[in-house]
Symmetry: C2
Subunit: 228 residues, 2 copies
DNA sequence: ATGATAATCTGAACGCGTTCAAGTGCCGAG
DNA sequence: CTCGGCACTTGAACGCGTTCAGATTATCAT
């Protein structure tokens, strides 16, 4: 019978404790928001001492990061599948952004912790070193979305399109997180309109009339994304 | 002689204490940054107890707000004067942005506290209720800068120009605060290029070719700035 | 079984921002 | 002169995130 026990325990007992702490934390974050939740409360809810929570997670921030990484891993295949089915850039952007809205909808309060900071030195900032790998995955998705989708940009701008689209998406999500309108209707309106504007804008961007802007934009992007 | 003393003290002794606490705080903020400064340290430096600091300022955040309000009041006339001298939109934008860069240059670390948060519920966020009056003053400056400066936008967009320019300026300042390049050279490059791009862009914005975008942009702005 | 070693867990304690009951000193009315 | 009230000041104490020395439990070679 120690055999069957061992089988039951095969996903390691400590993994279960870790999961219990994570779930307790997320439950409280969702209910009360990140700021108002306390580590003592989380530990009590998970039936461990505070120290145990810190054995599994480096900090309160790190718990949110664990959630974020899990969310990213969960959404990745869904987004990939949807991207394969969509052809136009608009449809592909919808695939990415809608998947995120759907996944994060029950966690809007929690997500606020991940959008509250601009400071790239803050661990939970979307621009932080800690978020770099998730950010890179996201940008890669947008690059895939833009690839052979009909949009043609001057070579000085094209390499930045993925990052620019990521930025657009971040703005949208930021607006969504703090959108107090019924069912976030304002964000949904913004979503539709900006998406349309983006596609129209990208079509117009090819016009030779805008040639002087191309050079400027290229230099600009090179400096912004240069090294930092 | 109690007379002359009274005259000396006429700006009230407590005002002097308040000033001493503020200066102590700013000195430490500048040196070590907002986060790393502690209220105990500030109080010690100002030669008072912690409680006294809280008698004059509601919170650590409130000290930064006091600095921000003072800065705003100090820059206002300088900007107004420079605006009067400038005619083109570009020159006027330069007047506003350059004045701010100059004033805030010795306080970049401190300013980081005011740009670190996107959360509109955080007191130090540029989008917060606490910053609303300063923000309104800023927007009014940009409105003045745009007034009879040659730019003509469709009536669906024109009313938002001030707020859009304010947003542009916030982005620039945000980039500047975290710009680690020598003398913030990258920001200065960005400043020049985006300013040029903005003026070129605003000229192009009148073209009838862009008519479909005008309607879209108008609806968009109405929703974004609708009530929140 | 039996230690030894590592993994897991505990709760007191630290430094932080903040609060507050209790002082201290000053000033004007009596 | 003096006393009541008010502006100002104090520092201990609170709740927070976090740390850490030590206790407890699991693992496993012997």
């Amino acid at each position: 019978m120690s055999e069957t026990d061992a089988v039951k325990k095969s996903p390691k007992k400590s993994e279960e404790t870790r999961a219990r702490i994570l779930e307790a934390a997320l439950s409280i974050f969702r209910e009360r928001g990140f700021e108002r939740a306390t580590m003592r409360e989380i530990a009590t809810e998970a039936e461990v001492a505070v120290g145990a929570a810190y054995y599994y997670f480096d900090s309160k921030d790190a718990i949110v990061m664990a959630f974020y990484e899990r969310a990213q891993a969960a959404m990745q295949p869904e987004i990939a599948a949807r991207l394969d089915r969509a052809k136009t850039l608009e449809a592909r952007l919808r695939a990415i952004v809608s998947t995120k809205f759907e996944y994060f909808a029950p966690n809007r309060k929690l997500l606020a912790a991940l959008t509250a900071h601009t400071d790239p030195e803050h661990p939970l900032s979307p621009f932080s070193r800690e978020c770099a790998s998730i950010r890179a995955e996201d940008v890669a998705q947008f690059d895939r979305a833009a690839a052979d989708s009909g949009v043609s940009l001057p070579p000085t701008i094209a390499p930045y399109l993925g990052r620019l689209l990521w930025m657009y998406q971040m703005g949208l999500i930021l607006f969504w997180v703090y959108d107090r309108s019924e069912e976030q209707a304002r964000t949904m309106f913004l979503y539709e309109k900006t998406l349309k504007m983006l596609t129209v804008g990208l079509k117009l961007a090819g016009f030779p009339l805008l040639r002087p802007l191309h050079k400027l934009a290229g230099e600009l992007l090179a400096v912004v994304y240069g090294d930092a």
